[in-house]
Symmetry: C2
Amino acid sequence: MGTTQLESVPEPKYWHLRTVLSEALDSDFAVGEILPNERDLAARFGVARATLRQALEQLELEGRLQRRRGVGTTVAPPRTAVSVSTAQHDWPGAPGDAWQTADATAAVPPTAVARLFDAATGEEMHTVRRTRVAHGQAVAAELLYVPVGSVPELSAIDVPSGPARGRAVLRELQRLELEGQERAVELGSARADDAKELDRLPGAPVLVVTTRYFAGGRTAAVSVATYRADTCRLTFGDSVDVEINHPGQQRQAS
Amino acid sequence: MGTTQLESVPEPKYWHLRTVLSEALDSDFAVGEILPNERDLAARFGVARATLRQALEQLELEGRLQRRRGVGTTVAPPRTAVSVSTAQHDWPGAPGDAWQTADATAAVPPTAVARLFDAATGEEMHTVRRTRVAHGQAVAAELLYVPVGSVPELSAIDVPSGPARGRAVLRELQRLELEGQERAVELGSARADDAKELDRLPGAPVLVVTTRYFAGGRTAAVSVATYRADTCRLTFGDSVDVEINHPGQQRQAS
DNA sequence: CAGTGGTCTAGACCACCGG
DNA sequence: CGGTGGTCTAGACCACTGC
């Protein structure tokens, strides 16, 4: 097929397996269907279970499969498109921004985050935890860092830690004039707390979206959002919900 | 420390190893430094090599390490910021867009790409291969699909396959009025051809950036760009080159 | 409880790089 | 050539899910 010519140096078994399985998924399986268990599959293809697992790992990374301990391996639906840039010029927490405020405390941000603020040190900040849900599933966990100086009207003593305080911080942010924002996307692995929130194992691949919010000539807030890389496709701009990336169409099993 | 309390259910060895190694990288190693080989490291930590490798894999995924067969494992520099949205309203191939045109042929796009064009079928399209280089390293490979109908002035017979044809396609695109574009980012694994171009093994994690270009009321072109996920951080908006994501600062070894 | 995926081991061989 | 990371095996045990 196409460029699949004779290979003098054969590709790794797990890679070949991945391809074979991928084609099988396209043609013989329906979304949600359960695959045979790993031991059976490995035996069927004449490879060790570890090798079979390496192939499954690839397919899971590509969003084709979903594996759950104690349950089995199922065919994943197409990735859900998650809009990241709607309301390009809105603060987090603006009306209808798809995030649910979970909690807020005061904490010292990791140094990597602190470095995004101008002249930042070990300063304590408002730290708001939020969750994003799509199709009834948690797809992202966010930590929003807001220096106390950015929301001077809010006295930390007034509002105890908890969801109410998170909402208060967000409310105060809306009062500022947002001068711009700056986004970056990179690959990461879920830390223990995020993994739990996303119903994944620690180390699961995530897309880390870091956003700096500018106001008053400086960085007024920083958001670090981790999206499930296996189930999400981040869209920028006014996106239509079109499936991409999968080489073939999902078909119904006969 | 901090929340690292007693764990009734211990975390996996490889995850703990990842953390230990990560901290060691922060404090005891300089960028570019070579780590002890895997067999020695495994022995030193009293684990099987496979377990050690699982930890290294995590760190490589996070952009902390770089492994090269036959050479060794080195400490990776901070990810390079790669701007994805410069010239938000320019066609690909606009002056100074950081891409190098490599080649162009006529080919039928994969069905997943074809679906992004309105009413597309097995139609042949101009297919331009481009490469993006940053800091002397290939960081991304792109396939740009342009329906023949989008660039009517260009007769395929005129220009034989090759770089010249790629430049011709891009030149014709500039003549159209770009009405908008739509981007999506998702995780993928490098296909064999992309992997080769990016100097990685097949299956290496990549960030797939899919862009639809609109002109004349329809999709005039689609670009599928795969960025090395280990070494790149995609930036949107006018980004400054600030390091993020790494919990600690890179320090010089004593 | 049985069955699933997740972790871990000890060892072997291969592909690649550099001297 | 020796040393590196990459692949693969066969087996064991653990953690979780659902019945």
